[in-house]
Amino acid sequence: MTLTEKILARAAGKSGVQAGENVWVNADILMTHDVCGPGTIGVFKREFGPQARVWDPDKVVIIPDHYIFTADSKSNRNVDILRDFVREQSLPYFYDVIDKPSGRWVFDSSKGMLKRQYGSNYAGVCHTALPQKGHTRPGEILFGTDSHTCMAGAFNEFATGIGNTDAGFVMGTGKLLLKVPETMHFHLEGKLQKGVMAKDVILHCIGEIGFDGATYRAMQFDGPGVAGLSMDDRMTIANMAIEAGGKNGIFEFDAQTQAFVDHRCKLNGTKSAYEPVEPDKSQKFVCELVVDLTKLEPTVACHPDPGRRALAKALGHIKLDRAYIGSCTGGKTGDFLDFARVLLGKRVVIDTFGVPATPEIVHDLQTARWGDKTVWEILVDAGVQMTENASCAACLGGPVDTFGRMNTPLKCISATNRNFPGRMGHKESQVFLASPATVAASALTGRITDPRELLS
């Protein structure tokens, strides 16, 4: 069996499963957020009754992160709906925007977009917060009401996005009927060269198979090349399995996975026991691709879909209005460090926005020092508009007052994960997806630029 089949078999209480088979699996974690949480709670109450209790309070994780730093009253209300539900159900894992359990969330736009407006429990973007807060464990099943839930596949677990109705069902029963996906095999070899990042790996893979090439399928990443990829890198890659239509992305378990997960579970006092899945000698794949990391070059997905692959060096003629770094896939500490390396001592020539995924990443950047300056100061000095208000922000457009949102038909290069028409705001705007290094290089020149031109 493949890694995905092994996890699904275990969660279904079976000795084996085959691709195409429908199985009921037990969930280990159900995650929801402010955009889909209120609707999920609505389904749960409508279907199981006003007095119903969630199937297991320790397994429901609620992370407001999407539309937080906006004056939109419904968005603020939606965070309050989550808080009321958490109190009613006594859920231990709720990463609220404010500290007061009986409070109401109101964003104060008069304080501006850059200074932090959240309390001590806030965790930021759900997919990045889940591992940081000790909720991702090898061998487990994670359901989330968000398509990028697949990011947790980096930790050798089965993680996939579901809708509100399915999530309401899981909330009440702890189970879900799944079709076992066929597995596509991506065997990684070699080592990334200077200026080439994990984002280039996944944009390359999506370009190879087409952006619906993994529909109804699992994408398994393994091979000797994985050892050279950090957990941040693996998250970037697994995150974008959905951009090829994939049901999930998954990595093998290794010492790096173990060190990360053990540390995070201990730090947060979350469940520390887990059972990874190891690859079987015989695995049945629907297709096999070998990816030589050594040969990859900085890659871009052009407007209007993540499969429009081109090399950055061939796109120098495309002039840009804006650059953006942030989101679950591109707003991690490692992403910002690579971004800052390109910008160090230079100045951007187009509007450039930086949104760290989580408060912990804000802290990392404000405390890491290169010489006499913090990385945060280096970025601000380079002209990047850095906000402390970690959230999904303009990655998915959001309410019109969202930080970095494109409210006019601009061209933007972005370290995020999706570039369909209107994704970052205005429906006639254009988004080009690239690595943090390529976004940084392009911000310095105002056109799409291969970062290797600037890294000596």
């Binding site: 955009v35 889909c36 209120p38 609707g39 709670i41 609505g42 389904v43 409508r46 279907e47 199981f48 009754g49 007095q51 119903a52 999407h66 539309y67 939109d72 419904k74 968005s75 939606n78 709906i81 009401t145 968000d146 398509s147 839930t149 996005g161 579901i162 809708g163 509100n164 109705t165 399915d166 309401g168 069902f169 029963t173 952006f211 619906d212 529909t215 109804y216 239509g245 049901k247 209007p304 879909d305 998915l396 457009g397 959001g398 309410p399 019109v400 999706r418 369909f420 028409p421 209107g422 994704r423 429906k427 006639e428």
Partner: protein, 184 residues
């Protein structure tokens, strides 16, 4: 249970993602709150670029569409897991999407909510039909017939998905079949 649907089609191309079906700025609306469910219908397909789609799916200021049947190309409903997407179409009174292929989560959400019948047709109807043409979709016969030309196009049987949508979604279906307890 209604199995034959006749009406004008709204035609879109390949890769219509959930941001085009319901733009992210409207996800502040909660589908289980009745008046917000209605409002979602008014924004269905509001993310389609005007330059490519001069005819709107829902007329300005209206909550319902004149098009009960949507015709798409490949990979319809790709992108996010937002259930608001099939709900917005259903709230706008669409009942059927006929597309060459569907993205996985959209297909599943259409069935789980019972909002839409997602029919997969091997012919590229999005290149054959124009918005406003009247067709009849017969779910039992698994075909689409075009009133003007009389031509008939087959789609794949909905199989075990059909009774779930017929029942009005996952919960109703599960209760009807005693898979979960009767409503609390």
């Amino acid at each position: 249970m209604q199995s034959v649907f006749t009406g004008p089609v709204f035609v879109v191309g390949d890769n219509i993602d959930t941001d085009q079906i319901i733009p992210a700025q409207y996800l502040t609306l909660v589908p289980t709150i009745p008046d917000e469910y209605e409002k979602l219908g008014g924004y269905a397909m509001a993310g389609l670029p005007d330059s490519l789609y001069p005819i709107r799916f829902v007329a300005e200021g209206k909550l319902d569409s004149e098009y009960p049947i949507v015709v798409g190309g490949r990979n319809f409903g790709c992108g996010s897991s937002r259930e608001h997407a099939p709900i917005a179409l259903g709230s706008a009174n669409a009942r059927i999407v006929v597309a060459e292929s569907f993205a996985r989560i959209f297909f599943r959400n259409s069935v789980a909510t019972g909002e839409l019948y997602p029919c997969e047709c091997l012919d590229r109807l999005c290149e054959i039909l124009k918005t406003g043409e009247v067709v009849t979709v017969d779910l039992d016969a698994c075909n689409v017939s075009v009133r003007a030309t009389g031509k008939v196009y087959r789609f794949k049987s909905l199989g075990e998905v059909r009774p779930v949508v017929d029942a009005g979604g996952l919960f109703n279906y599960a209760r009807k079949n005693k898979m979960i307890a009767a409503q609390a």
